[in-house]
């Protein structure tokens, strides 16, 4: 009895939420096969791999620290993605947050407790301004925002390198490319004592809540969703597509810029040319793993952060190469995309009766 793949009459909601779980289960299976091939006991190794990073409160704090920028950027991007706006430039927008927030910290660090919130705001504005460039090019000249936003990542990176190698270099730093340490006023407060988890995780979760209400409960959010899901219908209903592009790009840019400040005012405490840890790209995976829904993006961000941290610990505890974490991230995305096929398609058994088309021929 042959099987056939056919399009579902409408995308399956159940399948849409099940596919990340299927992908996670298959990734765990691949991990266990790899461990077994390496001559290890698969189940206990996987257990060690996933739980060691969380063995103590500090480890939990590290997970929150790593997940915060992923969630924050993921939520920002998801609003754009829902509206059909493909912002691939979060990495560059994050770097602009580093530049704007960093400038404020170096210029006004020590001027008072207002510096830190002002940095977050400045970073967000910097990121949004950077995202405004592809938004303008798209709405004015219909240039693909995928390409323009991606290319601006490299420009942002070079701009930051110029600043840190040049005017911002620490005079006491033996000419090494790094700024002077930021003033304590310019650092984010720690939310769990004796860990490095700072207020950014609170901001990220709050952003997820706000985004949820905005997307699901407001008229503007509804317009964005319709624009993304059915552009023709949106135009027919008179929803301005340009406005969707602007809102989508600017929210993504703002969130990424805030996350950039979170790095220099958080775990780094200094501005380095490599201030970004690739969160702008990883957050794209987080957004899709979380089904472009704030409630999904929070656990997705935690999962990706866990895999990244676990990869480093695998080197330490299991003597495996650190790239194992990246490998599992890639495997997860691969299975997610594969399982997503079943959201819009389904597999059906076909009766043995000859097909009418062949008969006619």
């Amino acid at each position: 009895m042959p099987l056939r793949i056919e399009r579902r009459p409408r995308p399956s909601r159940a399948m849409s939420w099940a596919s990340p779980l299927i992908a996670a289960a298959l990734t765990a299976a691949v991990a266990m096969i790899l461990f077994a091939l390496d001559g290890r006991e698969p189940v206990s190794t996987l257990w060690i791999f996933l739980t060691t990073p969380l063995a103590d409160l500090y480890g939990f704090g590290e997970l929150l620290l790593k997940a915060a920028p992923l969630i924050l950027i993921g939520v920002g991007l998801a609003i754009g993605f829902r509206a059909g706006v493909w912002n691939i430039g979060a990495e560059g927008q994050l770097v602009l947050g580093v530049i704007f927030g960093g400038w404020l910290a170096l210029e006004f660090g020590g001027a008072g407790p207002w510096v830190m919130p002002a940095m977050l705001l400045a970073g967000g504005i910097g990121g949004a301004l950077w995202a405004a460039v592809p938004a303008l090019l798209r709405t004015r000249f219909n240039a693909s925002e995928i390409l323009t936003s991606l290319m601006l990542n490299y420009c942002a990176q070079l701009w930051l390198a110029y600043l840190v190698f040049g005017p911002w270099r620490d005079p006491a730093g033996f000419n090494f490319p790094q700024s002077a340490p930021l003033h304590p006023d310019a650092l984010l407060p720690i939310v769990i004592e004796n860990t490095r988890a700072n207020i950014e995780i609170v901001i990220a979760v709050a952003a997820a809540l706000v985004a949820w209400i905005f997307i699901e409960r407001t008229h503007l959010g509804f317009q964005l969703r319709v624009t993304g899901a059915a552009p023709g219908a949106a135009r027919y209903a008179g929803f301005p597509v340009r406005r969707a592009v602007w809102i989508g790009m600017l929210t993504g840019g703002f969130a990424a810029g805030v996350a950039g400040v979170g790095e220099i005012a958080g775990p780094l405490g200094q501005i380095f040319p490599t201030a970004s840890a690739g969160y702008g790209y990883a957050a794209i995976i987080v957004a899709f793993l979380g089904r472009l829904h704030p409630a999904g993006i929070v656990p997705a961000g935690l999962l990706l952060a866990l895999l990244a941290i676990a990869g480093d610990y695998a080197q330490m505890m299991l003597g495996m190469p650190s790239s194992i974490g990246g490998l599992f991230q890639g495997t997860l995305l691969f299975f997610l995309l594969a399982a997503d096929v079943l959201t819009t398609w389904r597999i059906r058994r076909v009766e043995d009766a000859p097909l009418p088309a062949t008969e006619a021929a």
Binding site: Y58, F174, E263, F272, I309, D312, Q315, M316, S322
Partner: protein, 369 residues
């Protein structure tokens, strides 16, 4: 490591053991009988077959060889994000590693914060600026190696133009290239040095272009601070000499590598481990060049290097090691003609570490930051 150093180290270990036995209050061994010293190393880059991280790895390998039954080493590589290194050092400490090594300057700021908060472990950072609470640092006097290779370059150049592929204009690079020309001029006062700045530690494309530019300007001996054989290979292609400066690439650059020196951090690791085992470890700043237990080792020389030149290098090396000769002793003028070190004076180590001027005979200027 030569037999001489090994013997010295064993003697040192015996002395330390004796001291511990005689005055149990002065030293407090941290290891119980039969317990192993757990050492952790975090490499920022990948340990490859040559270059900076490779020499770092050679050091803990030497440590394992020195104490096969007493030391256990945990190694992490490719921890490129500074955000991650603090967590991993802390984790290694919690797991009971009593001695932890960072391999690059980039980790120094994190370690400076972290070391005082983890008193059960002791920390050492290569290329760190200065020792701090519970944090020792060690760095090589690269310039002693470049001075000796400069002697060879000064003797072998026909055009009297030497070339330097500059990574970054940091003091470590500036004092290296200055000493290179001082070495060359000690045997050939006509020698000059041209620099091309690449602004990268590893960038094969730009390094290759830099070598071509230098050769086009008449340079016939090329040096720099290469992490890969690419500069040497590019020089060989152009038919000019190259120097294996902080890396012996003779396995790749088969014809035209003139002389080479390497960085050997074995003594840094072994001494720190011994100190921790004996309970006598103190955070210190170790800045060493040539000589026994030093961090700079002369390695191979081309068979085409005349014996007379090798002899000159050996004499200079002996004088540097026994302290009868100081490289940065006057008179030294900078390349704008200003007297920087007067006759009879010697630069203080802090001034060498912060050097931001080029010696007379270097053509060009430092890129403005």
């Amino acid at each position: 490591m030569t037999d001489l150093t090994r013997r010295r180290l064993l003697q040192g270990a015996a002395a330390a053991g004796l001291a511990a036995g005689l005055s149990p209050l002065a030293a407090r061994p941290v290891l119980a009988a039969g317990e192993k010293l757990k050492v952790g190393v975090i490499h920022m880059g990948a340990i490859s077959d040559t270059g900076w991280e490779y020499f770092q790895a050679e050091a803990w390998r030497a440590l394992q060889e020195e104490f096969p039954d007493q030391v256990e080493v945990t190694v992490l590589e490719n921890i490129t994000q500074i955000q991650d290194c603090e967590r991993l050092f802390r984790q290694l400490s919690i797991q009971g590693h009593q001695l932890l090594f960072g391999t690059t300057f980039s980790q120094y700021a994190s370690l400076r914060k972290l070391a005082p908060t983890l008193p059960k472990s002791h920390f050492e950072c290569c290329a760190g600026i200065d020792a701090g609470p519970n944090l020792g640092v060690f760095e090589a006097r690269h310039y002693e190696g470049t001075y000796l290779t400069g002697i060879a370059a000064g003797r072998m150049t026909k055009s009297n133009v030497l070339g330097w592929v500059g990574a970054f204009p940091v003091p470590q690079v500036i004092y290296s290239l200055n000493a290179f020309l001082l070495g060359a001029r000690s045997v050939n006062p006509e020698a000059t040095l041209k620099i091309v700045w690449v602004n990268d530690w590893v960038n094969p494309g730009k390094e290759k272009d830099a070598v071509a530019t230098l050769v086009a300007q008449g340079a016939d001996v090329i040096s720099g601070s290469p992490n890969t054989p690419v500069q040497g290979l590019a020089a060989e292609e152009k038919g000019v000499w190259s120097i294996g400066s902080t890396g012996d690439f003779s396995a790749y650059v088969k014809q035209k590598q003139l002389v080479s020196f390497e960085l050997d951090w074995s003594a840094a690791h072994i001494e720190a481990a011994k100190g921790v085992m004996a309970g006598t470890w103190e955070p210190t700043a170790r800045w060493r060049g040539l000589g026994p237990d030093g961090f700079v080792k002369m390695t191979t020389a081309s068979p085409e290097l005349p014996a007379s030149v090798a002899d000159e290098m050996a004499k200079a090396e002996a004088a540097i090691v026994d302290g009868s000769f100081q490289i940065f002793s006057g008179p030294i003028r900078d390349n704008a003609g200003e007297m920087r070190v007067a006759e009879g004076e010697t630069m203080a180590p802090e001034d060498v570490k912060g050097m931001t001027w080029l010696v007379e005979g270097v053509e060009g200027s430092l890129p403005k930051g």
